[in-house]
């Protein structure tokens, strides 16, 4: 199977990674570069204990674990399927009581859906999944980017690296964050799933500063991507974004996490 797909106004490449699921790279929409690289570096899981007695609530006693989504956990091949108005990639990963389907959906109107469907019972019901999606959008080139968030009823420019959780505020289309290219005025609009309890990390791009094959940067330290955040300026620079969802298991699973993304303003 070719790893280049040209369909639905998109042209993109893909490959299966060792630990970050299906990676998409060099993605163009209507002949214009949108994405340098995007992947799903980690899906971590932690556990909680429930007690009806607040005084005896043990809280979270244990730490986090994760299994890499890659060659060692994939079940069957990566699937490429056309659907009305687009094309999608999907792959199923499993290990023990954890089951995932990673999806990349490309729509002919510029929408892009990087999603993760979560199945499986886990070790016990009181657990939470934390899928970490990483995007390196290069809209019409790597530089001259700006990152904005919708806050206090309007779009506000973010000047420095940071952490930007979804607070419930969004523009009329539901968009919460966007990456804008100064040169073309085009934008990548990002709308979280309302049940994702999502947060966004906006970080200045550095080569190799991604998927260190573990979310843990060291004992007692912040985990990635928080550990990447410094005080660097974003305005006019190359920006990478991490979308992190927090999904508590419940009986209505499976659940599909991940944002809606739309490319707009490309002329």
């Amino acid at each position: 199977m070719s790893n280049v797909i040209s369909e639905a106004n998109w042209k993109f490449h893909w490959r299966l990674t060792e630990s970050a699921g299906i990676m998409i790279y060099l993605a163009d929409f209507k002949g214009r570069r949108v994405l340098w690289e995007a992947s799903l570096p980690y899906v971590t899981v932690d556990h909680q204990r429930e007690s009806l007695e607040p005084t005896s609530d043990p809280g979270e006693r244990h730490g986090t674990w994760w299994l890499p989504l890659g060659g060692r956990t994939i079940q069957g091949p990566v699937r490429v399927q056309s659907f009305r108005g687009g094309v999608e990639l999907s792959a199923t990963f499993a290990s023990g009581p954890y089951h995932y389907t990673q999806l990349w959906r490309f729509h002919d109107d510029g929408r892009l859906c990087p999603w993760l469907t979560i199945y499986g019972p886990g070790v016990h019901p009181q657990h939470t999944y934390h899928p970490h999606f990483r995007f390196d959008f290069d809209l019409d080139g790597a530089r001259d980017d700006a990152f904005e968030r919708f806050e206090e009823g309007r779009w506000q420019r973010v000047e420095r690296e940071g952490w930007f959780p979804y607070t419930g505020e969004a523009d009329k289309d539901g968009t919460v964050w966007r990456q804008v290219d100064f040169g073309s005025g085009a934008a990548i609009n990002i709308r979280p799933h309302s049940w994702d309890d999502a947060e966004m990390f906006a970080i200045r791009y550095h080569d190799g500063e991604w998927a260190p094959y573990s979310p843990r940067s060291g004992a007692g330290n912040q985990s990635f991507p928080a550990a990447y955040i410094g005080d660097e300026e974003l305005d006019g620079e190359d920006v990478s974004l991490w979308y992190v969802a927090h999904v508590h298991f419940d009986q209505s699973f499976p659940y599909t996490a991940g944002p809606w993304i739309k490319v707009e303003g490309l002329r």
Binding site: W36, H124, S214
Partner: protein, 178 residues
């Protein structure tokens, strides 16, 4: 931006061997290579963007865990030039290699404490990379794995935490109490 998509292609067996040979001959990791207590965790293509001077080069990212020094070695090998272009040492905990997963499973399965708590038909279901929440757990600062036991496709019944440095089981917890 012009970019060569072939630079993202998976490394060939020869390129992987080339990257590892180049790394282990680098003087900065001489001690690691000599002692030989390290695990190669990942060798994958790395592509840097223009205007970086290495843009357009065929690069390999090699991540190694050095058990002798209890540290991670993160290297970028320039396969075109045959040199280690970047080398970083840290206390980060990279993903377990497949061999470490197998080792953790084999340690847990023969541990007396684990065996005494297994029910009939329980088998290892999965081995996960684990790190503790607080410093009171050994797994907080030491490379560790969690091995889940249970029946076939059924729910896990037991969690065993394995310290990969000492190759011992440090916790055995019924799954419902995890």
């Amino acid at each position: 931006m012009r970019a060569d998509p072939t630079l993202f292609d998976p490394l060939t067996a020869g390129e992987i061997a080339d990257a590892l040979r180049t790394l282990t001959e680098d003087k900065r990791v001489h001690g690691m290579a000599k002692v030989g207590r390290y695990r190669v965790l990942c060798v994958e293509p790395l592509v840097v963007k223009p205007p970086h001077w290495m843009a357009g080069h065929r690069l390999a990212r090699v991540v190694v865990y050095d058990y002798a020094a209890d540290r991670t070695v993160d290297a970028c090998v320039d396969l075109d030039a045959g040199v280690v272009a970047h080398l970083d040492f840290s206390r980060a905990q990279p993903v377990l290699s497949r061999e470490e997963e197998d080792l953790a499973t084999s340690i847990a399965i023969v541990d007396d404490n684990v065996r005494s708590k297994l029910a009939l038909g329980d088998i290892p279901q999965a081995t996960l990379h684990y790190w503790g929440r607080t410093a009171s757990e050994l797994a907080y600062g030491r490379r560790s794995a969690a091995v889940l036991f249970g029946r076939g496709d059924g729910a896990p019944s037991l969690v065993a935490v394995v310290d990969l440095l000492d190759q011992t089981v440090t916790q055995v917890v019924p799954a419902e109490l995890w």
